[in-house]
C-alpha cells in the first residue's frame, strides 16, 4: 500500500508537470493578455512596455522556465484581470462552487441510484418506463435551457425561490456557508438541481443497465433463497455488484462539476470558480487559467485515486498494485 501511494504521488508530479506545460502552451496561443493591459488603440510603445512587463517579449522557453520556477514556489502570479493573487481568487471562489456541487451530487446520488436500481430490477413496470423516459429529458436538454426554465418557473411564475445569486451565508462548524441559513438554501436549490439533472440521468441509466445484468446472476437468486428481503437483495447484494461503472462516472462527474460548472454559475450569477475560469479564458488571463487548471489536475488525480481505492473496497477481486 505504501509503495502504491508513493507511485501515485510520483505520477501526480508527472501529471502536474505535463499539465503545466500544456497550460502554458495553450495560454500562449489562446487569448491575448495584452488586451487587458492596453487599450485597443494603444501605441506600439505602450504595447511593447506591456509585453516586457508580462515577460512576453522573451522566448517561449524562457517564459516557461520562469513560470515553472514561480509555480513551484506556489506563486502563480497576479491575475491580469484582477491584479491580485490568482491562487487566492480561486480559493475565494471555491466554497461557493463546492456548495452547489455537493448538493447536486447528493441529489443525483440519492435520487438517481435508487431509481436506477428500481428500474433495473423491474424493467417491465410502468414506473420504470416513466423514469427512463423522463431521464431522456435530463440528457437531451442543455443546462442553460434547464436553468432558464427553472428560473422562469420557480423564480418568476411561482415566485417561491430567488432568481439568482448566492444568499446569506452563516457560520457552520466555523465555515462560512450557505448551508447555515434558510436563505442560503433557497438560493442553492435551483442551481443545484440544474447541475444534478443531467448527472442524474447518466447515473440512473448506468445503474439500471448494471442492475439488469446483475439481477440475472445466480447469487441474486441464492440471496433470495436465503430469505433475504427484497430491498436488501437489491441494495445489498445487487447494487454493490453494479457500482464499478457508476462510481467511475460519479467520480468523473464530481470532478467535472467542481471544475467546470461554468454555464450554471453564469446563469445563476453564482459567485463560484467556474465563472472565474470562463472570464479568465475569455480574457486570456494566464495566471488564473494556469493556477486553475493545475489545481483541477491535482483534484482529478486525487479524485481518481479515491475512485481507484473505492474499486478495491467495492470489489475485492480488483487488485491495483
Amino acid at each position: 500500500m505504501f509503495k502504491y501511494l508513493v507511485t501515485r504521488i510520483g505520477q501526480l508530479v508527472a501529471v502536474l508537470f505535463i499539465v503545466s506545460m500544456l497550460v502554458f502552451f495553450m495560454t500562449s496561443v489562446v487569448g491575448d493578455p495584452l488586451q487587458l493591459l492596453v487599450r485597443q488603440n494603444a501605441s506600439n510603445e505602450e504595447r511593447q512596455a506591456a509585453m516586457e512587463y508580462l515577460g512576453l517579449d522573451k522566448p517561449l522557453y524562457v517564459q516557461y522556465g520562469k513560470f515553472i520556477v514561480s509555480t513551484l514556489s506556489g506563486d502563480f502570479g497576479k491575475s491580469y484581470m484582477y491584479h491580485t493573487s490568482a491562487l487566492r481568487l480561486i480559493a475565494e471562489r471555491f466554497p461557493a462552487t463546492m456548495e452547489i456541487v455537493i448538493v447536486a451530487m447528493l441529489l443525483s446520488g440519492f435520487i438517481a441510484i435508487p431509481l436506477g436500481v428500481y428500474a433495473g430490477a423491474y424493467p417491465k413496470r410502468m414506473l420504470s418506463k416513466t423514469v427512463m423516459t423522463l431521464s431522456v429529458t435530463g440528457i437531451s436538454l442543455p443546462s442553460f435551457w434547464v436553468g432558464m426554465v427553472l428560473i422562469f418557473v420557480f423564480g418568476l411564475h411561482f415566485s417561491v425561490l430567488p432568481v439568482s445569486g448566492r444568499g446569506q451565508v452563516g457560520s457552520l462548524l466555523g465555515i462560512q456557508t450557505s448551508f447555515a441559513t434558510l436563505d442560503g438554501w433557497k438560493h442553492l436549490l435551483l442551481p443545484s438541481i440544474t447541475l444534478a439533472l443531467s448527472n442524474m440521468a447518466t447515473i440512473l441509466r448506468l445503474t439500471r443497465a448494471g442492475m439488469r445484468e446483475t439481477m440475472k446472476q445466480d447469487f441474486i437468486k441464492f440471496a433470495r433463497a436465503k430469505g433475504v428481503r427484497n430491498r436488501k437483495v437489491l441494495f445489498g447484494h445487487a447494487l454493490k455488484n453494479t457500482l464499478i461503472p457508476v462510481v467511475t462516472v460519479f467520480g468523473l462527474q464530481l470532478g467535472t462539476l467542481i471544475a467546470f460548472t461554468t454555464i450554471t454559475e453564469t446563469i445563476f450569477a453564482w459567485p463560484g470558480m467556474g465563472k472565474l475560469l470562463i472570464d479568465a479564458i475569455n480574457a486570456g488571463d494566464r495566471p488564473i487559467i494556469s493556477a486553475y487548471i493545475i489545481f483541477v489536475a491535482f483534484m482529478f488525480v486525487f479524485l481518481n485515486f479515491i475512485v481507484d481505492l473505492l474499486y478495491t473496497l467495492i470489489d475485492p477481486r480488483i487488485d491495483l498494485s
Binding site: K124, K221, F222, R224, A225, K226, G227, P316, R317
Partner: protein, 328 residues
Amino acid sequence: MLLEVRNLKTFFHTFRGTVRAVDDVSFTIAKGEILGIVGESGCGKSVTGFSIMGLIEEPGKVAGGEILFDGRRLLDLSDNQMNEIRGKEISMIFQDPMTSLNPVYTIGEQIEEMLTLHSSLSPRERRKRCVELLRSVGIPNPEGRLNDYPHHFSGGMRQRVIIAIALAAEPKLIVADEPTTALDVTIQAQILKLMKALVRERNCSMMLITHDLAVVSEMADRIIVMYCGQIVEEGRARDVIENPSHPYTQGLIGSIPKLNEDKSRLETIHGIVPNMFELPEGCNFSPRCRFCREICFGVKPDFRLANTEGHLIRCHSACGVSEGGNEV
C-alpha cells in the same frame, strides 16, 4: 409428510407462447428423506425447485396446484412470509458455486447474513457458529478463512461454503439444484458424501435435483424422473435404478458408461428434446421412444403402477418393464 406438492403447474408466458415448464407435478418428501429429481436440462426440474422456494420470476408464474410444507400452503404466503421460510426452513444449494456466492462480500459475511436473518444469536455467537459450520463442511483453518472472498476459494471449496450457508439456519428441507455438476469428478464424490452425511446427521430432508443418475443412485431414497415438465417415473431409488420401467429412464440409464461392461459404444437416446412451445399431442416422449405405438401419438398417458409397490410410470406401453435397458 414434510413437503407435499400437488398438481403443481408453473408456466412461462412469453410473447412466443406459453411454456408449460412444470405441468401437473405431484410428489411428497418425508422427513429425513432424500428425493432425487432427474431429467435432462429444460425438463422442469429446476423450475419445480424454484416454485417451491417461491422464486419464480417474470415471465414465469405458478399457475395452479398446491405446495404444502409442514402443513402450510406456501403458495398462499406473502413474499415477506416466504422470506421467513426461505433459508430458515427450506434452503437451497445452487448449481454453480462460481456464481452463487456474491463476489463482493466475504464468505463470513455471507454465512453470517443467514444467521442474522434467521437466528437471534449475538454477533460473537454468530461468528462462532460460522466457524463451526465451515469446519463441519470440511474447510481447513475456518477462522482464518472467514474474511476471505469467494474468489480466494476453489470451486469445490465454494460449494462447501454454499452448503455451510444452506445448513446455517438448520433448515428442514434443502433443495439442492445440481450441486455437483460444475465440479470435478473427484470433488463431486467428496461433496456428495459430505452432503449425505450432513443431511443424515441433522435429520433434514433434501430434494436433490440433477441430470446425473449416478449421483442420484448414490444419494437418494426415492427418485423422480421428469421429462418435459412432467413426472414420467417415480419410485424407490433402488427400484428405479435397477428396474427402470419408462423408456426414457431406460435411455438415461443406458447412457451411463459402466466400467465393468465392455461396450464399444454408449447408448444414446435418439432425437432431441421437443420444442417446449409445440409439445406433441400425445405422450411427450413419443417422438423419441423406441417402443412407441399408435396410441402414444394421440393420447397423453396416465400414471400406472410398475411392478413394485410405489413405483409409478407414465407410459402406455408398459412393455419395457421387463426388458430392462440393455437393448440396442
